[in-house]
């Protein structure tokens, strides 16, 4: 029943990112250097508190996206797309203090770190950035990865379990460091207790989860037409609503 996993911890972006690799055959520790480098570079480039980071310079208007390093320009472009897809509910340009892509970057960086593991002889891998999780492959048994969604009313419990084909991000006001800002008012707002989004790219899933957490159940309407992305919201009253094909594996049993 037990299966081997090799774990690497990376301390960046004010949190701990866990990289779990599920080897086909255990020989030696995989080389995590490339994946670590991706996360550490992102930490440098996108820090809003380091005054000399490209993002800080953009916030002060010293440089434009076109002048920024390529990865910063790529994130700016992706944020533009996420803003459009979310009907403006995800809007890094509407954050207090100026352009703040944090809601996209953590997932984006985790996704790129995961890509660095693709060449390893492994069944699968997970990169977990404080509860936003990108995955590759499967468990060694061939079974899909199973991820619990914390119950926002009682985070000691799981609300649901999903079978992951790629990524999942969850946003809610209960998280530490969660600053869910309504782009329309510039003030904190969360119309549901939590919103989870699954899809092929963790950066976009992260941005969309933030958008739906702010927009509430009405936000499911802008997720539904996005190919390969699904969302689940848990209301302040505990009520669940989801798009048509959210991949719930099983209801957690009594006592969950």
């Amino acid at each position: 029943m037990t299966q081997p996993v090799v774990r690497e911890l990376v301390h960046v972006m004010g949190t701990v990112i866990t990289i779990d690799v599920f080897p086909i055959e255990v020989t030696e520790r995989p080389d995590f250097t490339a994946a670590r480098n991706v996360l550490e570079r992102a930490n440098e480039a996108f820090s809003t508190w380091r005054p000399d980071s490209p993002v800080s310079r953009m916030r002060r208007g010293e440089i434009t996206a076109a002048d920024a390093p390529p990865e910063v320009s790529a994130v700016v472009a992706a944020c533009t797309i996420a803003r459009e897809l979310s009907g403006g509910w995800f809007d890094p340009w509407a954050m207090p203090g100026g352009f703040d892509p944090t809601g996209y970057v953590k997932g984006w960086a985790a996704q790129h770190a995961l890509a660095e593991l693709a060449g390893l002889p492994i069944a699968g891998a997970l990169v977990n950035a404080a509860g936003d999780i990108a995955s590759l492959g499967t468990q060694p048994s061939g079974a899909p990865f199973r991820i619990g969604i914390a119950d926002p009313a009682d985070p000691r419990r799981l609300a649901e379990i999903v079978e992951l084909t790629a990524c999942i991000a969850t946003s809610g006001a209960y998280e530490r460091g969660s600053h869910l800002i309504d782009p329309r008012s510039g003030k904190p707002a969360a119309r549901v207790a939590s919103a989870s989004v699954v899809g092929p790219d963790l950066g976009l899933a992260d941005a969309l989860a933030t958008a739906v957490a702010v927009a509430g159940a009405d936000g499911l309407a802008f997720i539904e037409p996005i190919a390969d992305y699904e969302a689940l919201v848990i209301g302040h009253d505990g009520r669940r609503q989801s798009t048509s094909h959210f991949p719930i594996a099983s209801q957690p049993g009594p006592g969950w």
Partner: protein, 147 residues
Amino acid sequence: MKRASIVIAGTVAGLVAVLEFHTTPAKVTLAGGSTLPAANKPAAATGQGSAGTGGTRSATGQQVNYSWGVLSVKVTVSGRRLTKVGLGYLNDGGNPRSQFIDRQSIPLLEQQAMQAQSANIQGVSGASYTSAGFAQSLQSALHSLGM
């Protein structure tokens, strides 16, 4: 990378075994900006076997740094089953903000460790920041019990 010795241990993330290889401890940047070694004693897990009680044993994992201080996890197992997860040690510096977070997040992690065992999950979405350090200490506690 040179071949390193392999140690198998259980983990918070369900019924998996974590392969620990010898690595240099990572540095953790604390909220105040100071740094401490990530693990005070990487192999400091202590087991307290009590064979006379039907296979119920407990152990405290290594002390690990997390965002707000240092913690270690204490586990109790019966046979191969995790029956209790709690804190063996916690020093969050007494900062009210970190104490507030700890009061919320640590019971959550204790509960999630128990759930992960019965739910066969590999992670929790929407989980708290403390989890990686907690998982690391939990692994070492389980390892010291041969799980």
